[in-house]
Symmetry: C2
């Protein structure tokens, strides 16, 4: 099985440069944030978002060359993503993320809030200096969506009336908006025609949604070691995702357990069992597959290149995480 990072080979050197830049940006100027920067942009980062931005840059530029503005956009994308993670972890009081301690638990709330604010601030400054109002709008929309998503997430806990559409909308705000709007911004910076820019947006949106659905399936099917958290922890915290929403359609009695927030003995174990015995996971896999296919379709207009191939492989890899 191909590892996620080997998929990035056409932009591997570019990603190494990006990581160095991000570490220096945050850590070098402010020793108070140095350790946080090492932690955030250190060896562990998957850098999927900037990799997609850089691959799309190569795939859309006539000569396949990444411009300095594309590089800056990739940095902005990773900064916004990281800032929102750091603040989400404060808001959710999470001690770990994918098995790694969070900034606010390693350091404190103070450093986490400062580091997040600094990254948001720096990204809005970089953004303004790309000197492209359309790109500014796309990325400020992302910042807005992420804040909106985090607030909505807090409101919808244990809400058994949540529809699949509302779940996908929530996932858009939480995950897909950043890839979708960054992908479109790459197109704007590469001066692609409007229809192509819209295709890139749809590519990012579908890929982001598929990624989130797969993540939500893995919360039920993955092992604690791979997840870095106990299986079913989304459900336990009241965050209702595709597998359980589909399961509820089939087994309305599942709702009662969730409505009472698993307050009776064995409620939670029973709920997990029902989800597994329902079509919930299979239907969620179909949903993810549908979005991956749409993402692949959206790449169809790009000229054939190593980078386009990598983007297709990344899209397919999203489903391979389920195997």
């Amino acid at each position: 099985m191909t590892s996620a990072t080997s998929l990035f080979s056409p932009v591997e050197a570019d990603l190494a440069l990006l990581t160095d830049n991000l570490k220096n940006l945050v850590g070098a100027r402010h020793k108070i944030l140095y350790a946080a920067a090492e932690h955030l942009f250190g060896a562990g980062g998957k850098r999927i978002r900037p990799a997609i931005v850089l691959l799309l840059a190569r795939a859309t530029q006539p000569d396949g060359a990444i411009t300095s503005r594309h590089r800056r956009l990739a940095e902005i994308t990773e900064m916004i993503h990281t800032a929102s993670l750091v603040h989400d972890d404060v808001v959710d009081e999470s001690a770990t993320r994918r098995g790694v301690p969070t900034v606010h638990s390693l350091f404190d709330n103070r450093v986490a809030v400062l580091a997040g604010d600094f990254l948001f601030a720096q990204s809005s400054w970089y953004l303004a200096n790309l000197d492209n109002l359309a790109v500014v709008k796309l990325l400020s929309r992302v910042i807005m969506d992420l804040a909106e998503g985090e607030i909505r997430q807090g409101l919808k806990h244990f809400d058994t009336t949540l529809s699949i559409d509302a779940y996908l909308e929530k996932s858009y705000y939480k995950t897909a908006t950043l890839i979708a709007n960054s992908a479109k911004a790459v197109g704007v910076l590469s001066n692609v025609p409007e229809a192509m820019a819209e295709n890139l947006y749809q590519f990012g949106r579908s890929l982001g949604l598929a990624y989130q659905v797969v993540d939500d399936i893995l919360d039920f099917t993955g092992s604690s070691e791979v997840l870095g958290k106990p299986a079913g922890s989304d459900l336990l915290s009241g965050n209702l995702t595709a597998p359980v929403l589909y399961a509820m359609e089939e087994m309305p009695y599942l709702k009662a357990l969730i409505d009472r927030k698993f307050s009776q003995p064995d409620d939670f174990e029973q709920a997990i069992e029902w989800v597994h015995s329902s079509q919930g996971i299979g239907r969620s896999r179909d949903l993810a597959m549908h979005h991956v296919e749409h993402a692949l379709d959206c790449l169809g207009e790009l000229r054939p290149s190593e980078s386009r191939q990598a983007l297709e492989d990344i899209s397919k890899y999203v489903l391979r995480r389920l195997k």
Copy 2:
């Protein structure tokens, strides 16, 4: 003595509208933030920054009429200011601000981080939609400066080598940048000549610095009731301001007390006494006066109007707070 708010009479109705808009923006869409919005934009707010933006709008528009983009700019200014206060209070773990409980103490860190992020996000979205790249740059610079200022503040505690220039630079990042850049942005939106826009920037910068110096004097001379915190609390927390920096020039032995962080009995009381018996407060007053005079000079090019008069009165009022 004129109250601060009566100085705003040419834009009083505009400020009432702004307050309603801000409350609705944050509170109406998100019940989780409703109480925070009421608290942040409720009766207590002084709204000095949006008042200055609105007055400058009237003073720079040929017909004295505020445009919808000026109104939006005033809202953005207040949102950025409020967001930074809310996060600063989390970072500084302050329970009260000017005698009023802070958001994170009234609610919790979670709501405070969310509310601040939402305000920053909304302001960057509004900003992008002003459709003016120059204004986007001015205000993202502010967001950047505020984050930088908060980090620097954390680094410079109990630093007795701090110069008056470094103190003023810190005060610029913390306070003056928002008024300075917003004032210039008003000029850009009103299409004033470049030299006039620069004058507006200088006006805001000087007014902001004067305001901060006066605040720092009041920390020594004000009563606890007026300040809403014990007198000398900046010094106690290691935040060295104009009065103590000047006092140290005269009384180098004051440094020893600060260097050992007031660890001996009566150190703090002794330090306060020395500051009062030095020229520190008088020289700080001169410094504030110098900046107010510069601010007034910068208004000189504006055509005479009720709004210009109000801006002059506000500038002079900054010093009257010391009486």
